[in-house]
């Protein structure tokens, strides 16, 4: 069960933190599971009410505390709360990537995509692709 950054590079399995949204994208993530659409099991989700509520310093914290990539599963146009939620989340992602650069972390470690409540396949594809992309980058730095 031991794995992760320190050992041989070919064994590196990136740990991915997904910020999902409780009423929309988390339902899409659920659907990926109930359809048995396999994606890397190192991806774990923390649901929030809306993706425009992700704090940039949470992303930085995750990338310096064991996660190698952060994926924001935004609501797209379905968000029940905030009509321009995707625009807001996109701006937030820009801001967060600046913060990551300041800390010498490649901004590609953060990715955002709209995942709706039936976007199971798209979620699976994103996870697989993001996993491979992060793999190329190698493990993220640790807190220090």
């Amino acid at each position: 069960m031991e794995q992760g950054g320190g050992t041989a590079a070919q064994e590196f399995r990136p740990e991915i933190l997904v910020f999902s949204t409780a009423t929309i994208s988390d339902i899409g993530v659920d659907l990926a599971g109930s359809s048995h659409l396999h994606y890397p099991p190192t991806a774990v989700a923390i649901p929030l009410p809306c993706s425009s509520g992700v704090r940039p310093d949470w992303v930085l914290y995750a990338l310096t505390h064991g996660f190698d990539g952060v994926f924001i599963a935004a609501d797209g146009t379905d968000c029940p709360f905030v009509p321009d939620c995707t625009d807001r989340t996109a701006k937030l992602v820009g801001r967060t990537q600046d913060l990551l650069r300041e800390h010498g972390i490649p901004p590609q470690r953060l990715k955002m995509a709209a995942i709706c409540s039936v976007c199971a396949e798209s979620f699976q594809k994103h996870m697989k692709y993001f996993f491979e992309e992060i793999k190329k980058l190698g493990p993220s730095t640790k807190a220090g």
Partner: protein, 573 residues
């Protein structure tokens, strides 16, 4: 050191989880976590027996936190909050972990890794549970009065139904008289009664009610407060009238699609929209005459301004639903006025759904001819010597080129959302892609909007005929009454909070809130932000805006998120 006493239950889900995740291994891995005093596995956490066992544990072990690692929270979050509640544990001290949809089912191919992931997920749940706090639902007393905005058939029927239930109603109608489109209509489908008569009857009934007050020339200009207790302002003529109501029903109806100049000859004399043609029919006593000339033949072009058909920049993509029916009905009325009339219906699809199929049958039996065109090759309309010449390729005869001469061309125009920006500046209701007001969910929560206590009904919501408009108006009535009759409402307490120590009232957050829930207050010697918890929806979009990190949403606090990240991430370092 946590002084918390948490019970953790890991569910097999009868194999759905345990076939792929080694639940015993997960339990052993987390049993020693800080604060965990009960760690058990169970075959079905949601079964009565398991629920009872959890209740006993809570009471005997004096638990002050609870984690069930089972299926998706969409399924059982409320079930287990209920279990907590029955055991006397505050339901917001409960955390659900999703081991089925987001673990066992998603990773059936790699059981060992699924088990590893399950451990992380349960650890995160425990970390979150350690930081939960007891919360009470927000209780608000309600005012037994409602405001109906828009006095068309939907609004008038809503007003009467609310009045029947003992709720006082104010109706705000923008124009000089109530009744909307229906007030102007003659014979209507499917009942063949005159629209103007229907409205006259409703107006008479409303006049006899003491608990309904109708304002015409009235517009809603301000709204504050929240569900059950709104303060609103109407501007009536040049007066301002303040009102206090518990719910608001918005029935502002629709606009009719206005074709672009030249769209199927629009702008030429003799090319009419469906409402214009309906007016001509309603005003005719005998054989049809248009501008002094007898009408012997009519061509109808369907779907104008609907289903992507438009010369305008952003065509409406939806089907307007009412127009097939209304055009069939108009065709029968026209036939009754001029039995020798030749009528040609150029359609893309006939959508006389349900019982309205009878309208189609009737039009056909009265001699109407139907020709189908392809949307890529719409008919062409030209005027030659005072007559129209309409050309099309008829799909029903495998693309035959057909030319029809006619006296009138009726464009079967669709419905559009009213372009009423000033109203929505006040109401702040979400609009759909079609610009109509958007309900939360057409099946699960129809007529409700994201603003609690504000309902939408009638053609303001989507293209609808009058029976459908009234049905939704009555749904909005029922929901309003359910809310107001109880005397109070209870709201989810998972709302934003301000850390007043950290807040410096820079006011950065204020404009980020879509619900205007952030206001300025004085706390001790300084000014700080405060969240109106009755308005806040807990979306958290204000949270990243605060440069001081002073904002958080209950149940998703900064400490909780970091603790969850630690719990899941730390194990990989």
């Amino acid at each position: 050191m946590s002084a918390r006493r948490i019970g953790v239950y890991i569910c097999y889900c009868g194999g759905n989880i345990s076939d792929y995740v080694d639940c015993e291994k997960v339990r052993n891995a987390i049993a020693g976590e800080e604060g965990v005093v009960v760690a058990k596995t169970t075959m079905f956490a949601c079964s009565d027996a398991s629920q009872q066992e959890i209740i006993e544990d809570i009471q005997q072990q004096k638990l002050d936190g609870m984690v069930v690692a089972s299926c998706s929270p969409t399924l059982h979050l409320f079930t287990f909050r209920g279990v907590a509640n029955r055991a006397g544990l505050n339901p917001y001290l409960y955390v659900q972990v999703n081991l089925r949809e987001q673990c066992s089912w998603a990773h059936t191919d790699v059981p060992a890794q699924a088990t590893e992931k399950a451990v992380h997920l349960v650890r995160a749940g425990i970390a979150k549970a350690r930081l939960t706090e007891s919360l009470d639902k927000i209780r608000i007393d309600t005012v037994p009065r409602a405001l109906v905005v828009g006095g068309g058939i939907a609004g008038l029927r809503a007003a009467l139904a609310l009045s029947d239930l003992g709720i006082s109603v104010f109706v705000a109608e923008k124009s000089e008289k109530v009744g909307g489109w229906v007030a102007e209509m003659g014979r209507m489908y499917p009942h063949e009664r005159r629209g103007s008569d229907l409205i006259a009857k409703l107006v008479e009934e409303i006049g006899a009610r003491e608990n309904i007050k109708v304002f015409t020339h009235a517009e809603l200009t301000a709204k504050s407060g929240s569900v059950g207790d709104f303060s609103v302002q109407l501007s009536v003529a040049d007066q301002t009238i303040p009102l206090n109501v518990g719910t608001i029903v918005v029935t502002t109806g629709f606009g009719s699609y206005e074709p672009a100049p030249g769209e199927f000859g629009y702008g030429t004399e003799g090319v009419l929209t469906l409402p214009e043609f309906k007016r001509l029919l309603d005003e005719s006593k005998g054989p049809l005459v248009y501008r002094g000339k007898p009408v012997n033949s009519i061509v109808y072009v369907y779907c104008v301004g609907s289903r992507g058909s438009s010369k305008k920049e952003k065509p409406n993509t939806y089907c307007s639903r009412y127009c097939c029916n209304a055009a069939m009905h108009a065709s029968s009325v026209a036939h009754d006025l001029s039995p020798s009339l030749h009528q040609f219906h150029l359609f893309r699809d006939i959508r006389t759904y349900g019982k309205y199929e009878l309208l189609y049958e009737e039009a056909r039996s009265k001699g109407a001819v139907f020709l189908k065109f392809d949307e890529q090759q719409p008919p062409e309309v030209e005027k030659v010597d005072g007559h129209f010449r309409v050309q099309l390729k008829d799909q029903l005869t495998f693309g035959d080129e057909i030319q029809i001469e006619s006296d009138l061309v009726v464009l079967v125009t669709g419905m559009e959302a009213r372009a009423d920006k000033s109203l929505n500046d006040v109401l702040k209701l979400p609009l759909g892609l079609d610009n109509f007001f958007k309900e939360i969910h057409p099946k699960l929560r129809p007529v409700e909007t994201v603003i609690d206590g504000v309902f939408i009904a009638g053609a303001a919501q989507a293209p609808r005929n009058s029976a459908e408009s009234v049905a939704s108006a009555l749904a909005a009535t029922a929901k309003s009454a359910a809310l107001l009759k109880k005397g109070y409402v209870e709201l989810e307490p998972l709302v934003a909070v301000v850390d007043t120590e950290a807040c410096t009232w820079c006011s950065e957050c204020v404009c980020t809130c879509p619900y205007a829930a952030i206001e300025k207050v004085t706390a001790g010697s300084k000014e700080v932000a405060q969240i109106n918890s009755a308005l806040c929806k807990g979306c958290g979009c204000c949270v990243p805006a605060c440069p001081k990190g002073a904002l958080g949403v209950k149940g998703y606090t900064d400490r909780q998120i970091r603790a969850m990240i630690d719990a899941m991430g730390a194990s990989h370092e």
